[in-house]
């Protein structure tokens, strides 16, 4: 596991930076970070830039995270790329919705860097 290219999707630039720092602290072999402010920007980003991992908020303007995950499966470049949701929407219903839409993991805000590693590592190593 090395040279991982990750896309972080969140409408908050502060949250994108926190997630990036958590990923780098986790020692997951992150080589490149791309950022997007909503689902539509994220779809455009993955069409031109192949990534290995996507971390995505749910509540965002323009296109929310659930709709993004649904539409991602139609992007040739992104087939099979694991998506981990990072969101304040932590109810069981939201988790089920996200996993049904195609997400592979779910992290509730607030979170610690250790929790990011705990949820992302199995996804990257194919154990989730």
């Amino acid at each position: 596991m090395d040279n991982i290219r990750a896309l972080i999707v969140d409408d908050s630039s502060v949250m994108r930076k926190i997630v990036e720092r958590s990923l780098r602290q986790a020692g997951l072999g992150i080589a490149q970070i791309l950022e997007a402010g909503n689902g539509a920007e994220a779809l455009a980003a993955v069409q031109n830039n192949p990534v290995d991992l996507i971390l995505c908020d749910i509540n965002m303007p323009v296109m929310d995270g659930l709709e993004f995950v649904k539409q991602l499966s139609a992007v040739e470049n992104a087939k099979g790329v694991p998506v981990v949701m990072i969101t304040t929407e932590g109810s069981e219903g939201h988790v089920v919705q996200a996993l049904s839409a195609g997400a592979r993991g779910y992290i509730r805000k607030p979170f610690t860097p250790d929790q990011v590693k705990e949820h992302v590592l199995p996804v990257l190593t194919g154990k989730s």
Partner: protein, 161 residues
């Protein structure tokens, strides 16, 4: 910490939300900012609280959750969240306080059993300045003053229904 679903609809039950609301705020500061909020032994002066972040709640619970603090505190919050000096974090303080408010609202509703799926959150709005009035059909108002690095931060949940 979960609260019984049966208290959703009663005012008496909602009074019991205050400790849950306080816990939701304290957890956000501990996990995302790496610091503990304290409750003041006596009410601190509430001057210069010129940053107000608001998140709307709609559904089973309708209302507004707000976090108010000074510009100085907001910059320090952003500094802690980003791991940079407060001077460099200044431009990010509105986003930081908005995210804090958003996480407190989400953390709070996730702790109230049965509310998670029945209550939607708006994206946060942040207001700068203190010379404003908010008019809403408030039925109840839960309010707590915390101290963040010695300065007041006010958390309010205005319940509309």
């Amino acid at each position: 910490m979960n609260t019984s679903n049966s208290i959703l609809s009663t005012a008496a039950g909602r009074e019991r939300w205050l400790p849950t609301l306080q816990l939701a705020m304290q957890e956000v500061f501990e996990l995302m900012l790496g610091c503990a909020l304290t409750l003041p032994s006596e009410p601190p002066p509430e001057d210069d609280l010129e940053i107000t972040s608001m998140v709307g709640l709609a559904g089973q619970l309708c209302g507004i959750l707000t976090v108010r603090c000074s510009v100085r505190s907001a910059a320090r919050m952003a500094s802690r969240m980003l791991g940079v000096d407060a001077e460099k974090a200044g431009q990010e303080m509105w986003d930081a306080v908005g995210e804090i408010c958003n996480m407190v609202a989400g953390n709070f509703k996730n702790k109230i059993s049965g509310m998670g799926d029945g209550c939607m959150l708006s994206v946060p709005t942040v207001i700068t300045g203190g010379d404003y009035s908010v008019h809403s059909m408030v039925n109840e108002n839960l309010r707590t003053v915390f101290l963040f690095e010695g300065e007041p931060v006010i958390l309010t949940l205005e319940v509309h229904s």
